[in-house]
């Protein structure tokens, strides 16, 4: 694995620790307002300064990690399981089932630009963290399904699978004990990139005002609240720190995904 992968792992670890230990790391209550201290610059008391309502930006960024990771992990977990099952069915059974799933269903889901579909779903369903996760799963699962289908198609022709079949193993047994473990590597890569995508989508939707409603400290919402010309002029730090947090988190999971892909693909490693 290359250096960038380790940097990615280190940043991801920091974000995860920040999310777990947020109440102990944060220096103030992230909802506590202090209208006498609006847009204060970073200082010893408020490391990242304060926002429009005098809330401590550092504490809000730290608690924001919880929201990002909560959404990211839920989305990756649910869509990976669902996508893997559907992809395995398509690849394993082939024939009409595969034609229907990969030729039609996958294409329909890929036909929407992901963000637009999420916006449409949230617009009609209403906002809230559960609905947001649901919307992101609906756009996310198809990536895993495609990867899994491709892997199953490749692996199912291997001799050891044929041997297992000859020994009378059931379809389910072949799928779960022989094919799945050998198809898992690209899924891990996909999950890592999917994590970056989910964190980014949550922040995007929150930025658009369609994600997690205030006063929850979503990084996307924080940027939205701080991007006016006057605020950028007088207090750029209010936008800078949540922006940095999103950028680093997304970058970290992309580094990990890219690094893993290179590491797991011997063809690329040789280059």
């Amino acid at each position: 694995m290359n250096r960038l992968t380790y940097i990615g792992l280190a940043i991801a670890l920091i974000v995860i620790l920040a999310a777990i230990f947020a109440p102990w790391i944060a220096t103030a209550d992230f909802t506590a307002q202090n209208l006498g201290l609006r847009y204060a610059s970073p200082s010893g008391d408020h490391w990242f300064g304060t926002d429009a309502l005098g809330r401590d930006v550092f504490s809000r960024v730290v608690f924001g990690a919880r929201i990002s990771l909560q959404v990211g992990i839920s989305v990756v977990f649910v869509s990976a399981i669902f996508g893997t099952v559907i992809g395995a069915i398509a690849g394993f059974y082939g024939g009409f089932v595969d034609k229907f799933l990969s030729g039609y269903v996958f294409n329909v889901f890929l036909a929407f630009p992901g963000l637009l579909l999420a916006i449409a779903l949230v617009a009609f369903l209403g906002s809230g963290i559960g609905k947001l996760i649901l919307a992101l799963c609906i756009i996310g699962w198809v990536g895993y399904a495609r990867v899994m289908r491709g892997q199953v198609l490749k692996v199912r022709e291997y001799d050891y699978v044929q041997a297992a079949r000859a020994l009378g193993a059931s379809n389910m047994r072949i799928l779960f004990t022989h094919i799945l473990p050998n198809a898992i590597q690209p899924l891990i890569v996909q999950a890592s990139l999917g994590m970056a995508g989910a964190v980014l989508s949550e922040a995007s939707l929150s930025f658009l005002g369609l994600g997690i409603p205030p006063p929850a400290p979503s990084w996307g919402t924080m940027i939205d609240e701080a991007r006016g010309f006057d605020i950028l002029y007088s207090a750029p730090h209010v936008m800078f720190f949540p922006g940095l947090a999103i950028a680093l988190t997304v970058l970290a999971f992309n580094f990990i995904g890219d690094g893993l892909r290179e590491y797991l693909d011997p063809k690329q490693r040789a280059r």
Binding site: G114, L116, L200, F207, L208, R227, F229
Partner: protein
């Protein structure tokens, strides 16, 4: 030739099938709105008569689909007299329904804004190509040099930095600090520059990576050795021979990314208050709960995306004879 036609026919059939499904899904999305659209639009104080009038005007008094289900009665067949078919009938005559808020035809509202979004997307594409082409070629032809590493880092930044971080950052530097551009709006011709750079940044990063690896791959081909052996300058080899082959996958990405740009434009338009389709969807559609308008916007953006993708696929097949055969 016969084979080619068959392929095109299959491609078109798939495109129509996907469009049909997408339109159906969007049509039915209005059914998942919690509660009743009329109450949402007219408010809690609306009289029964007002609600009935509203429903009658927008066809909401009719059955939602071919059949309906509620627990005591079980399934009920509604026949062809339903909203789903109403919407389709409207679509085929170019009618997207009337706005729930302003009563204006949704089609007119959308096509007032459509050109400025397309303009923004094209400008973003030009910015992306303008950055990626020289950078990718330079990085690819000098693999592992300082330029290459710099380009790779730039590409990673471009992919990881979200639009809504890049946008305000550019506003901060070029509008707040340097004062070169207006922070928002589209009053002057140069006002498109910051939004286009914001929207094109991610694409330029993806393209830089693609062009780089494409150039590296093509440089290893035999025809490059031949071209060099007969004494052509490196410049001619790269720009005339390598790029001609290396750009084929790039064309595909451009087509596929048009949809991503259209969706990303929603965020960019919000940052810069750019009066396009995205802002229409966000402010007038979702913000005012004008569901008819939301349907129309989602529909137009998706169909643009699907058509662009399918056309790209056809162009791609024409450009690369190897795909036509396999």
């Amino acid at each position: 030739m016969k084979y080619k036609l068959k392929n095109i026919a299959r491609q078109l059939a798939l495109m129509l099938l996907v469009i049909w499904t997408v339109v159906s899904l969007v049509t039915l999305l209005i059914e998942i709105v919690p509660g009743d659209p009329a109450t949402v639009i007219l408010g809690e104080t609306a009289t029964q008569e007002q609600i009935e009038n509203f429903n009658l005007k927008h066809g909401l008094d009719r059955a939602a689909f071919f059949f309906s289900y509620n627990s005591p009665d079980g399934f009920k067949w509604n026949g062809a007299d339903n909203r789903y078919l109403d919407y389709w009938k409207g679509l085929l005559t170019g009618d997207l329904g009337k706005s729930f808020r302003t009563d204006r035809p949704v089609r007119d509202m959308i096509f007032e804004r459509y050109p400025s979004t397309i303009m923004l997307a094209i400008a973003a594409m030009l910015v992306a190509i303008g950055i990626a082409l020289p950078l990718g070629v330079l990085a690819g032809s000098r693999k592992n040099s300082l330029v290459d590493n710099g380009a790779s880092f730039f590409a990673l930044l471009g992919i990881s930095l979200p639009t809504f971080v890049i946008g305000p950052f550019l506003v901060y530097i070029f509008a707040v600090q340097l004062g070169w551009f207006a922070p928002t709006g589209s009053a002057n011709p140069e006002d498109i520059i910051l939004p286009a750079v914001t929207l094109g940044a991610a694409l330029s990063a993806i393209l830089t990576r693609m062009i780089r690896s494409s150039v590296i791959e093509e440089l290893g081909e035999d025809y490059v050795r031949t071209a060099r052996a007969k004494g052509l300058s490196e410049r001619v080899v790269i720009y005339k021979h390598v790029l001609k082959n290396g750009l084929i996958p790039v064309v595909t990405i451009l087509g596929l990314q048009l949809g991503v740009l259209l969706a990303g434009a929603i965020i960019t338009e919000k940052i810069f208050n750019w009066q396009g389709l995205g802002l229409l969807l966000l402010e007038d559609g979702i913000g005012k709960r004008d569901y008819r308008l939301v349907q129309g916007c989602v529909l137009v953006i998706s169909v643009t995306f699907i058509v662009a993708n399918s056309l790209t696929d056809l162009v791609y097949r024409r450009l690369d004879p190897r795909i036509r055969i396999s």
